[in-house]
Structures are given as structure tokens and as C-alpha cells.
Amino acid sequence: MRTAFIKQLVEAAKTNNKIFLLVGDLGYSVVELFAQQFPDRFLNVGIAEQNMTGIAVGLAMEGYNVFTYSIGNFPTLRCMEQIRYDMCYHNANVKVVAVGGGYAYGALGTSHHTTEELGMLRTIPNLNVLAPADPLEAQIITKMLCNNNEPSYLRLGKAGEPMVHSKDKTFSWGNIIEVFQGKGTAVLSTGSMLKYASDYIQKEKKEYGLYSVPFIKPLNLVDLATIASKYTSIITIEEHQRSGGFGSAILEGLHDLLEQEKIATLPKIKRLAIPDRFIGVAGTQDYLRKIAGLQL
């Protein structure tokens, strides 16, 4: 995903001279592609993510579309107040990009497990919260972010994730993306859990429908209502804590739809997420997902 992101950013920067990339002293063998072609619109600000976020806001106020890039919790949790107050309250055109979403950097330990940021960021007004599932979604969403002016957060995985969608799949801003239809139960997945969900459903020959939800905020309630009226039960899956994250967003959205009488009944909802604990051990991404209970 990170490769898809940087490639698309380079593509866009060729014709859009507002695109600016800030990194927090990382991106070795990833961002050079950008840095070499657009040295005037690139800066390594150092290991100083809060400063980086403030600098991004300043650059944005002077007309740039600024992408900040670092690992997981560093450009996000570390900078919550800069994001809330400087960036979002001022509606600054800053795109916070984190690599290593969820347990992508499994062996690196709790500092690098990125499992709370969706919930924290989702509460901030004006901020889009986006978690693509595969390189295709990452590429299309990056393109969208290059062309809009809205404060946004982009959660990426690492390098080398497999494609889930076919190459010619398209979607528009905000769409809930259908992977395949099913009967009875719909699985809604965000971020890179999609590959696991898709493989599981096919291998176990379940009749579940499968949908990818990269747009956690704004959540598309029209699409959600359509799904809710087709299925009697919904399972959400995310590489994130159980409170406040993607499953919570779906729960809230469905309940709002019920209250607004846009759906007649609530489907049964099961949330697969990390059960409110730190997984303080090393392991591969698959291993950590398993012990956190992220299993259909």
C-alpha cells in the first residue's frame, strides 16, 4: 500500500504543484522517488511529528496540499492536539498519512501497534478518516486526496499487500465497496482485514456478502441502509480496539438510520475488534490478529 501511495503521489505531483510532502525522518527506500523529483516540495523535518503537523498547517495556509508521513502512532496520537486544533478547526488542507496500520509492524512491539487511532481521530470534526484495504484502494484514495482540500487521515498498511479487488474496480468518494454479495450475513471490513475476510469466506464456502469500507468517516449512510435492508446480520471486522473504531461507527450509523426511520429494523450486529487490551508481545501480523481474536 505504501508503494501504491507514493507512486500515486508522484504521479499527481507532476501536474499539481501544490502537493507537498513532509516526512518525520523516515521513508528510506520509499519516498526518495518523490524527494528527487520535487525537492522544492519535499522536506524531512526530523523526528518531530508535532512540529511537522504544525509546519504542514502553515504550508497549507499558504496554499499547499500537504501530506505528512510517518509510522502509525507518531503522526497521529502523538499530534492529536495539532490535528484537532491547528489542522481541523482551521480546515487546513493537510493529509496525515500513517504507515503500519494495525499490527502491520507486529514484531516491533506495542509502540508500533497502531490500534487506537481510528477511534481517536473519528471524533474530530472536519476530518476524513480513511483506511484502504489493498493497493488499488490506496491508489484511488490517494488520487482523491491529491484533488481535494479537506483535512484527512489515511491509514496505510506496509509494503507488499496482495490485491483483493480486480485491477479495473472503480469507486467514488464515500462509497461502501461491494466485494461480493451474499445471503443472511454481510461482513463489513475496513483496512487490510479485507484480504483475510475474503479468503475466509471463500475457503469456508460461507454465504456471507463482503463489503470494504475504506471511508470510515464520512460514513455513507445511504449505502449502509441498502446493506442493512438486504441482510439480517452484519459482522464488522477491523484491526483496531473495540471501542470507538470502525465497528462502533457502523453501530452508530445503523442506529441513526433506525431512528430516522430509513431502515425498519436493526440487523444483528457482531463486532470483531481488539478486546480492550494491549497485545504486549511480538509476532507476525497474522499471529497478533489471531490472539487479538480478529477471526470470523
Partner: protein
């Protein structure tokens, strides 16, 4: 039992961390080698600790802020007997507490780190507690040079002298290279000594690979007056292995079999 010879310990630590990096495909070997001598002097001649009681009240506290360079700390803790080699060899494996950023669930580790720029504030809190409770132990904190980019460190650097925390020592592993360039290119720290002095610290500059200089700088009995102490240790990233020294790439790479053999051979030659 304390190892009496810091040089012997350092050699073991370097070989252990190189082997760990090789077997477990771990990064950050350059920054582990740059601090291995300081750690070896600390654990052989300076720190008070009891490997059978890691949480012994009277121990000196060592906070290791550059948690990415975990192999050096894990290696020295093993060599002095906090745990076995077999335990350490689970490093990075499924279910292991030996995560590749320092984990406080490992015996002898005070604080989980890996998000840079956290430990010095915690050290200030411990030192403040030590003052309030009138204890004898000392708080040592090791930070990397790149880490001093973080503003949080400078808040702590202001705090410690204001509160006269002369029961703490900060060690800067000044190896001149960070993740994505040299310190000079990314965010210059010089003149670092003057900065610390002007913030009210007792500032000592040493060759961070010379064991007698390290020992003299870190002794507790030479602290006079009310200032906290900072030791700026001039070091070499990748120290002791010719093809790793001063090479940014060895922030990321792990040695293959031939490289490991060559590296161990070089360390064995060093007395």
C-alpha cells in the same frame, strides 16, 4: 555477580547483538553498536542492581529511550544474568516478550520505549520521586542524537535543572546519524554542549567508546552541586565493524551469514 571487566562484557554484548540481528532479521544494529560500550560500562562498573530481584527498591534506574536499538540492551541484560540465552532467542518470535522495541515486561527493563522522546520525562518523574523520598539511587537515561529533534525532550531538559535533579544523568549517544540522513543534514544539534550548559546542566563530553572516559563521566561520587548531569558521548554508528561504521544503511539492514562472520571476527580482534 557483577562482571568486573567492562571490555570483556562489551565484546560479549556486541557479538550477542550481531547474532540476534542476524538470526531474527532485525534492524538498528548500527545504533546498537554505538551504545554497546556505554551499556557495558554501566552494567559492569556503575549501576547498582540485583538480577534475582529486578525491582529491588535500591537499584539504580536505567531508562533506555532509543528503544529501536533494543538488541544492545537485551544483550547486556542477558550477559549480566537477568535471563537466559534461551529466553532471549525467542526475540521477535510469535508470543515473545522480546519485541524489537524495548519492552518493560522483560526482566531488567524499566520502561517500554520505541516511540522516541518519551523516556527523559519519565526519568524526571522518577528523579523527582527520589528527591521527595530522599533515596540514594540514581536515574540514568540514554537518548539517541536524532531523538533530540523531539520537543518533548527539551521540555524535560528545561525541567530537570529547574527542579535541581542532581540524581539523574542523561547520556546522549551522539553518533551523528539518524534514520534518513545525518544530524547535520536533517536538523543540526550543534553546539550541543553549549545548549545543555545554557539550559543549566553539568555537561561532560567524552569519547563514547573509551571505557575509562565513560566510567569517569558516569560515576555517582563525582556529582557535586545541584545540577543534573548530561554526558555527550561521541560515538560511531556501527562501531567496531568496518563495513557498518557510519553507514546509514545499517540502520535498516541485518547482517547475512558472511557479514556476521566477518563482524564477529572483527569484534574478536578488539581488546
Amino acid at each position: 555477580m557483577l562482571p568486573s571487566n567492562s571490555k570483556v562484557l562489551a565484546q560479549k554484548v556486541k557479538k550477542c547483538l550481531l547474532t540476534l540481528a542476524h538470526h531474527h532479521n532485525a534492524s538498528h544494529v548500527g545504533g546498537a553498536l554505538s551504545i554497546a560500550d556505554v551499556l557495558s560500562v554501566l552494567y559492569s562498573r556503575i549501576l547498582k542492581y540485583d538480577t534475582s530481584h529486578p525491582k529491588w527498591e535500591e537499584r539504580d534506574r536505567l531508562l533506555y529511550s532509543k528503544g529501536h536499538a533494543c538488541t544492545a540492551l537485551y544483550a547486556v541484560l542477558k550477559e549480566v544474568g537477568f535471563y537466559t540465552d534461551a529466553a532471549l532467542q525467542t526475540f521477535t518470535q510469535n508470543g515473545s516478550l522480546f519485541t524489537s522495541h524495548v519492552n518493560h515486561k522483560v526482566a531488567g527493563v524499566e520502561l517500554s520505549t520505541g516511540s522516541l522522546g518519551h523516556a527523559l520525562s519519565v526519568a524526571c518523574g522518577m528523579a523527582l520521586a527520589g528527591k521527595r523520598k530522599k533515596t540514594d539511587w540514581h536515574v540514568y537515561t540514554i537518548v539517541s542524537d536524532g531523538e533530540l529533534n523531539e520537543g518533548s525532550n527539551w521540555e524535560a531538559i528545561l525541567f530537570a535543572p529547574h527542579h535541581e535533579l542532581n540524581n539523574m544523568t542523561l547520556i546522549v549517544d551522539f553518533n551523528k546519524i539518524q534514520s534518513f540522513g545525518t544530524i547535520k543534514e536533517v536538523l543540526d544539534l550543534d553546539p550541543l554542549k553549549d545548549k545543555f550548559n545554557s539550559f543549566g546542566w553539568d555537561t561532560i563530553e567524552i569519547d563514547g567508546h573509551n571505557h575509562s572516559e565513560i566510567y569517569e563521566a558516569l560515576r555517582k561520587d563525582t556529582i557535586h552541586g545541584s545540577k543534573p548531569r548530561v554526558v555527550i558521548a561521541h560515538t560511531v554508528k556501527g562501531k567496531g565493524v568496518d563495513f557498518m561504521e557510519n553507514q546509514l544503511a545499517w540502520h535498516y539492514k541485518s547482517p547475512n551469514k558472511e557479514q556476521l562472520e566477518s563482524a564477529i571476527g572483527q569484534i574478536n580482534q578488539q581488546k
